[in-house]
């Protein structure tokens, strides 16, 4: 009762602030909640040309999903690629931010920062094109180099290499961009702490370890939890642009699978079921991540 009263009290006091919240809420409702009506497709035998005449089939599509042999492959690929991206690329963002922070020439720092985040604005189609031509077995830049050094040309779009290519190209494209948040967080750390540390005789590494990292830890955790939420999204657009049937068994992820089944075979119900499964797992992971972080580090999103 008390809390409710204070809530309305706050609303009345800051009514203009709450009013400004309305567009954001409208956005959420319009673009995030209303489309959820589409989830029903997962429980129907959906006919796109006659949406209202579609038959309800309960959990049949989910049964089909868990029984299909593709499902395990696709889930495994999604998790492997996603974990590889998080384990390798997430710390890279922090490391790049820390390194850039140690650069004293402002001009140099800004230039490097700009150059490494520019690839973020390239479309995956362009990036895939660049990598395909660099990695090409015939007349590709990298293979020409390998052959010049006496090696044998390597076909990179094969099951043995495909995941590495995916993780590496994602790193090339996104690490600079991911670092920006951390660079901003580092800029907010009070200079007096560094001064005090220097007086106490702390070296550069000590300062990073004992001041910078702890100070930006809340940001790191926030970003990490958000990243965990999208673990089931291993980079659909990227893989779609780079894969082919030869590497389906190592590179086919939930997103690409949904695309192929949904559009290629017009099996909308099945692909919606796959998508819903993906979202549920993502939701659970965010909840768990948040809970874990509250328990262990004492800081969390909510």
């Amino acid at each position: 009762m008390v809390s409710r009263k204070s809530f309305w009290y706050r609303v009345r006091k800051h009514w203009d602030m709450y009013l400004m919240l309305i567009p954001a809420l409208a956005f959420l409702i319009l673009f995030k909640y209303l489309p959820m009506w589409g989830i029903r497709i997962a429980f129907q035998d959906f006919n796109i040309f006659d949406p209202n005449g579609s038959e309800w089939v309960g959990f049949l599509n989910f049964q089909k999903l868990f029984a299909s042999k593709d499902f395990l492959t696709v889930l495994r690929n999604t998790l492997i690629i996603s974990f590889a991206k998080i384990l390798i690329l997430f710390p890279m963002g922090v490391i790049v931010a820390l390194i850039l922070n140690e650069v004293h020439s402002l001009w140099y720092k800004k230039t490097v920062q700009t150059i490494i985040y520019i690839p973020h604005f390239f479309s995956w189609i362009v990036v895939a094109g660049i990598f395909t031509s660099i990695l090409s077995t015939t007349n590709g830049l990298l293979n020409q180099l390998i052959e010049l050094l006496g090696g044998e040309a390597v076909n990179f779009i094969t099951p043995a290499w495909f995941r590495s290519v995916i993780v590496f190209s994602a790193g090339w494209k996104e690490v600079g961009w991911n670092a920006i948040v951390f660079i901003a967080a580092i800029a907010g750390v009070g200079q007096e702490m560094y001064e005090a540390a220097r007086i106490d005789g702390a070296g550069r590494l000590r300062q990073i370890w004992s001041i910078t990292l702890p100070s930006i830890m809340p940001t790191i955790i926030l970003m990490f939890i958000l990243r965990i939420g999208s673990i089931m999204n291993a980079g659909t657009e990227q893989i779609l642009a780079m894969y082919n049937p030869v590497v389906y068994n190592v590179g086919d992820v939930i997103g690409t699978y949904v695309y192929r089944i949904g559009l290629g075979k017009m099996d909308y119900s099945f692909s919606t079921a796959v998508g819903l499964f993906e979202s549920l797992v993502g939701f659970l992971l965010v909840m768990t991540g948040n809970w874990l972080s509250r328990r262990t580090v004492g800081s969390s999103i909510w």
């Binding site: 203009d16 099951p159 192929r260």
Partner: protein, 520 residues
């Protein structure tokens, strides 16, 4: 004061939002009108209030030029009075794109498509297409333009859902349209002849591998587009020229034929020896063309209609190029054949989506275009400008006007009058290089001897086949690529065939054989 200005700002924003919302409502209502219009359309013509003709939207097959700016468009506008806005499908993954367009009910009035009957009939079965039959009486020219075979193929019960334009056939043989292209000039350099057997073919590819093409880049002996690994002149070398072949009185699909494994083993062998483009699975249609035209690849697969642009490009990039064609090869067991169809199959299919708002106008538009003189103007142009007629009544193109202004004309056709084959011969001669290739494929006695007409020619459409064909074809292509270029063994094909049967292959085989039995 401060609060007031914030308030007015928010109010302005809210109003803008609500206006935007209002703006979107009529659009929403529109999407429900087609069904209404469809019910009442036969009774009342949907003319716009001031009697003006509406702008029609037509989705075309892919072409290198903009249909809106192409000269045929202006002629059509002049004769019909309708302004048409032309869009086109992409070059690759056409079926996916078409699915998406149909599923999102984009308001196209006419769609023209090259491809499988099954996909179109799948739309029809799902109720996405307008039934043409009720409109035929008011569009007599269109009625003339639909053959019995086309009517039979695209009908479900008493409804007709598409306008099929049949493949051309000559002397009882189906048209050979595609072939492997190779470089005669390279062969001359190497002292080789155009291969006639699979062994000679492999020998040629081996020689190409170390060939110095003068550009300093390595040669890819043979490339393919990533969406085609079954080349009918090549499967013929392994005894399976057509998708359906008769064995002991039954129709056998080449997927279940054990000789398909021999064919796949052959291609896998080429791949593993480095004779087949290591990156062919990722090739788009355009990549294969580029690799061939810039002199990187020695063999590639094209249709005769690719000749003009292919020669034009190579005259620039490879001035010494001389083309040779390999339409078929003789296989290890002496088999040879090129699969073709007679009185069967359609090279263009047009249909009218339910989402169309102007169904009556569409039929009026089509009917005007199919008046005899108009049809001739669209297809081969104007006498003295685009063509001449000799004393035998044959039409001859006037070069280069015909080529420049009528190359794409058959893509504008919606339905074809019975005279079309005559016009078609004129079209075929529009470019000497293309004509030469076409003659080689269709008038050369040696090639004619192996032209194998599919026994399942003239097959109507079947419900189960329509439903599953697209996904079955995708399954097959994926598995074949995995075998040829991936880690799967040729023997994995057996397990795959079982999967394919369960996924609808058996249902299709049954439909075909029931039809086959009923026909005898």
């Amino acid at each position: 004061m401060k609060k007031k200005s914030i308030l007015s700002l928010i109010l302005a924003f809210a109003m803008a939002l609500s206006l935007a919302a209002c703006g979107s409502t009529p659009g929403k209502n529109n999407s429900s009108t087609p069904s209404k219009a469809e019910n009442s359309s036969a009774a009342e013509p949907v003319n716009t209030p001031d009697g003006e003709k509406p702008v029609l939207k037509q989705l075309m097959i892919n072409a290198a030029e903009d249909y809106n700016a192409y000269p045929v468009a202006a002629d059509i506008k002049e004769m019909t009075g309708y302004t048409v806005q032309y869009d086109m499908l992409p070059k690759d993954e056409t079926a996916d794109k078409l699915n998406l367009i149909m599923a999102s009910e984009q308001e196209y009035d006419i769609v023209s498509y090259i491809g499988d009957v099954a996909l179109v009939m799948n739309f029809a079965q799902n109720g996405a297409l307008v039934d043409i039959n009720p409109y035929l009486d008011s569009a007599p020219n269109l009625k003339n333009a639909i053959s019995d075979y086309a009517r039979e193929t695209f009908s479900i019960d008493d409804s007709l859902y598409a306008i099929g334009m049949e493949n051309i056939s000559f002397d009882g043989l189906g048209e050979v349209r595609e072939t492997l292209f190779t470089r005669q000039d390279w062969l001359d350099d190497l002292g080789l002849k155009v291969p006639t057997t699979t062994d000679e073919f492999v020998e040629m590819l081996r020689a190409f591998k170390d060939y110095d093409n003068g550009t300093g880049t390595k040669v890819i002996p043979m490339t393919l587009p990533g969406n085609r690994v079954i080349l009918s002149g090549l499967t013929g070398a392994f005894g399976i020229p057509n998708e359906w072949n008769e064995i002991d009185g039954e129709l056998v699909n080449w997927i279940t034929d054990p000789r398909m494994k021999d064919y796949l083993a052959f291609l896998k062998g080429l791949y593993e020896e480095g004779l087949l483009d290591a990156e062919f699975p990722a090739n788009k249609v355009e990549n294969q063309k580029e690799k061939y035209t810039n002199g990187t690849a020695g063999v590639a697969y094209f249709g005769y209609w690719d000749c003009p642009s292919l020669y034009d490009t190579m005259d620039q990039t490879q001035p010494d190029h001389v083309q040779a064609f390999i339409p078929y090869l003789v296989g290890p067991n002496g088999d040879a054949g090129i699969g073709t169809n007679v009185n069967s199959g359609f090279d263009r299919i047009s249909f009218i989506p339910k989402a169309s708002q102007h169904v009556d106008d569409v039929f009026n538009f089509i009917n005007i275009q199919l008046e005899e003189e108009n049809f001739r103007t669209v297809t081969i142009g104007k006498e003295g400008v685009h063509f001449t007629q000799d004393e035998n009544g044959d039409y001859w193109p006037i070069k280069p006007t015909f080529f420049d202004e009528r190359s794409l004309s058959n893509n504008y056709n919606i339905g074809r009058l019975p005279i079309y084959p005559t016009y078609w011969m004129c079209r075929a001669k529009k470019d000497d290089r293309q004509w030469n290739c076409w003659q080689h494929l269709n008038q050369n006695e040696e090639v004619k001897a192996v032209n194998t007409v599919c026994v399942a020619s003239g097959v109507p459409s079947f419900p189960e086949t329509s439903k599953n064909k697209q996904s079955l074809d995708q399954m097959v292509l994926d598995q074949q690529i995995k075998i040829i270029a991936g880690t799967e063994s040729v023997d994995s094909w057996d397990a795959f065939v079982e999967e394919w049967r369960a996924a609808g292959g058996d249902a299709m085989i049954k439909e075909y054989n029931d039809w086959w039995a009923s026909r005898k």
